[in-house]
């Protein structure tokens, strides 16, 4: 069993350098800080020995403590501070170690930052990146593992990205930092350790363009964030069963690239959406709704969603396996949808087990 999971492109550039997702995030910040002195990083722990799972390690040493800085534990006020600094020409990158902590900052994010450009008639924009981490596993429990990206997706004025590969993490973060609008950058904790090809230097992944992770003709799987890994893994198993799935990672859920999804579903006639959050009123509903509106009559079977059960995250490891949907769930759903047969695979190749992402991950935290 490999100690980290590597997701390769469907068209891998075999010469490409491989980096971990956390390194890709780090490199994006580093490049942007080097290129633009108005970029700065702020957040609880960004200067500490762990450096936000490695994503900010060494940056304070390189750029100084007036560009990479810790802050008081005051999420709402500090979001206001960061916004104010953006209005005065800075390009802040704010980090919250858990999306759950950012619940304190909703007022500044949603009432102020998201609407600043609009409510002042376009006089001023608020270039601002907020990195929000999604926790999972090792008993993170109800208040350290929420995945509230659909909330942000609902709000005009924000852009919301949630890359699943190191390549996209770097390219989208660079786009986000350079963007004149507030961008919510969602990082699933279990993606930090995955590896993948990452080009050197500055490149941009445009915000609002989906990525087709795998081509297939039988079923379209739209999978968000960490679910893209599960979908990719499921697709391999499904290929062995004669089912060719197309896996799409939207990468951005505001704006949302519906065309790529439509184009795919037009070919496959089937849609499965996998989200890391709750089903009810979550983003997966938006994907299903758009497809129903556009292609309703042309589907070969009803669309489906795979998401969390309708409860807060239970802490006990005994429930973690049941709480989080896996590649197995995707395989089962796909078999039912495409072959109308019930099949629950007993083993899917997965480096994950129970409540930890891979064997190199041990608690605490």
């Amino acid at each position: 069993m490999p100690s980290t999971y590597t997701m390769r492109d469907s068209n891998p550039t075999s010469m490409a350098r491989e980096l971990k997702y956390c390194q890709a995030v780090h490199e994006a910040i580093d490049l942007c800080m080097g290129a633009d002195p108005s970029v700065y990083v702020i957040g609880l722990g960004v200067t500490d020995p762990k450096g936000i799972f490695g994503t900010t390690l060494g940056l304070e040493q390189k750029y100084g403590s007036s560009r990479v800085m810790d802050m008081p534990c005051a999420e709402n006020g500090m979001t206001g501070v960061v916004l104010g600094s953006a209005l005065a020409g800075m390009r802040p990158i704010m980090v919250h170690q858990r999306i759950d902590f950012a619940l304190l900052a909703m007022e500044q994010i949603v009432n102020q930052a998201a609407k600043w450009h609009y409510m002042f008639g376009g006089r001023k924009s608020a270039p601002l990146v907020i990195r929000l981490l999604v926790g999972r596993g090792w008993g993170q429990g109800p208040q350290h593992s929420q995945s509230l990206h659909s909330w942000f997706a609902h709000v005009p004025g924000l852009k919301v990205v949630l890359p699943s590969t190191p390549h996209d993490a770097k390219g989208l973060l660079i786009s986000a930092i350079e963007d004149d609008n507030p961008v919510i950058f969602v990082e699933h904790r279990w993606l930090h350790n995955i590896s993948g090809p990452v080009p050197e230097g500055t490149y941009r992944v445009p915000i609002g363009e989906a990525r087709v992770l795998r081509r297939g003709s039988d079923l379209t799987i739209v999978a968000l964030s960490h679910m893209a890994l599960d979908a990719h893994r499921a697709a391999q198993t499904l290929a062995g069963e004669g089912i060719e799935t197309e896996v799409i990672d939207p990468r951005s859920i505001r704006p949302f690239d519906e065309q790529t999804v439509f184009e795919s579903v037009r070919r496959t006639g089937r849609l499965l959406v996998a989200d890391t959050s709750w089903r009810h009123a979550g983003f997966a509903a938006e994907v299903v709704a758009r497809v129903a509106e556009e292609l309703g009559g042309r589907l070969k079977c009803p669309p489906r969603r795979i998401a969390l059960p309708d409860c807060p995250t239970p802490t006990s490891p005994a429930l973690a396996a049941e709480f989080y949907p896996t590649a197995n769930h995707i395989v089962s759903a796909a078999c039912e949808m495409v072959q109308a047969r019930a099949w629950r695979p007993t083993v899917v190749p997965t480096p994950f087990s129970l409540d930890v992402p891979d064997p190199s991950f041990t608690g605490p935290f």
Partner: protein, 323 residues
């Protein structure tokens, strides 16, 4: 101060026409704070405010026709008609913005000051807010950060005794003055008569001097009183949350009248000066209103124009209809 008073009264008068279709929070009775503080600011200094922003905007030199057009919802408004009275801005004048969520522009102001520190720019930022805002946690978070970084910011609290209809007694412990909260954060604070423009001016000048000298943030609390209803053009002393007597006591402390009297008594002001200025201001106001009324509405096809800044926005073009 006289200018703010006459403009606010002009707004109150015209409001009944129901053409300014947005909530307005007039500062009649509180003008001395805006006038006295902004007088000591330079063009490069910056100001932010909240829902009751007209005085601060005008005192900082905000464009009057653009403000009136904003209140009339016109495309020529300072926010293109998108914001109304509660969302004023005039970047050229250093009025960075006002928004009506209580307390929320305080940390944003601190952010401006923080950017000045990071960029080595010498300006001072002034955050205006009511005493109600000091009950919000974000006020404290902002003060702590300003103190931590010794930012060049002046916090100006207009304590007008009420938050909408709620008296101080239901909102903070008896006998604990507002300014003491700032003390708690290690921020030097002063209390003053907010209806005495000279006292305001003197305290602001002292504070600005200290701040410019690098002493870090300061906090000024001014006692004052709003004459009209919380939101809207009318007097509302009869609806029950405060007494006519209280209002009359405060009206005697009218900041405009006190200053006029002082000037005339001391000989540096004449009735004809006041008359002349008043006429000028009224003309200016009338012209601004005429401009506002004559201006065109924002066109509906522009409704989605400013959701996102298009500059530096490497985003795939998506349909305008939805995200």
């Amino acid at each position: 101060m006289l200018r703010i008073r006459l403009i606010e009264e002009g707004i109150a008068e015209l409001y009944a026409e129901q053409q300014m279709r947005c909530p307005v929070h007039l500062c009649i009775g509180q003008e001395a704070v805006s006038a006295g503080v902004c007088d000591v600011l330079g063009a490069d200094d910056q100001v932010m405010s909240s829902h009751r922003a007209h005085g601060h905007y005008l005192a900082k030199g905000g464009n009057l026709p653009a403000m009136m057009a904003e209140m009339y919802g016109k495309a020529t408004g300072c926010s293109g008609g998108m914001g109304g009275s509660m969302h004023l801005i005039d970047l050229a004048a250093g009025f960075v913005g006002a928004t009506p969520i209580v307390g929320s522009t305080i940390p944003i102001s601190v952010g401006l000051a923080f950017a000045s520190l990071l960029r080595g720019e010498p300006r001072v930022v002034v955050a205006f807010f009511g005493e109600g805002a000091t009950e919000e946690g974000t006020f404290h978070e902002a003060l702590n950060f300003a103190a931590l970084k010794r930012l060049s910011i002046l916090f100006v609290c207009e304590n007008n005794l009420y938050s909408v209809y709620s008296p101080l007694s239901v909102r903070r412990p008896a006998g604990r003055p507002i300014y003491r909260l700032a003390d708690g954060h290690g921020i030097e604070s002063r209390q003053g008569d907010g209806n005495d423009v000279e006292e305001v001016h003197a305290l602001a000048q002292e504070a600005l001097g200290q701040i410019r000298a690098g002493a870090g943030p300061m906090f000024l609390e001014f006692a004052t009183y709003r004459w009209r209803e919380h939101c809207g053009p009318n007097f509302d002393n009869r609806i029950g949350y405060r007494t006519e007597e209280e209002f009359l006591r405060w009206r005697e402390q009218c900041p405009v009248e006190r200053q006029r009297r002082k000037g005339i008594e001391n000989g540096w002001l004449s009735e004809s000066d006041v008359k002349g200025w008043s006429d000028e201001i009224r003309d200016e106001f009338s012209a601004a209103v005429a401009f506002a009324k004559a201006s065109h509405w924002p066109e509906t096809r522009t409704m989605l124009d400013h959701v996102y800044s298009a500059a530096n926005s490497p985003t795939v073009e998506v349909g305008r209809r939805a995200a």
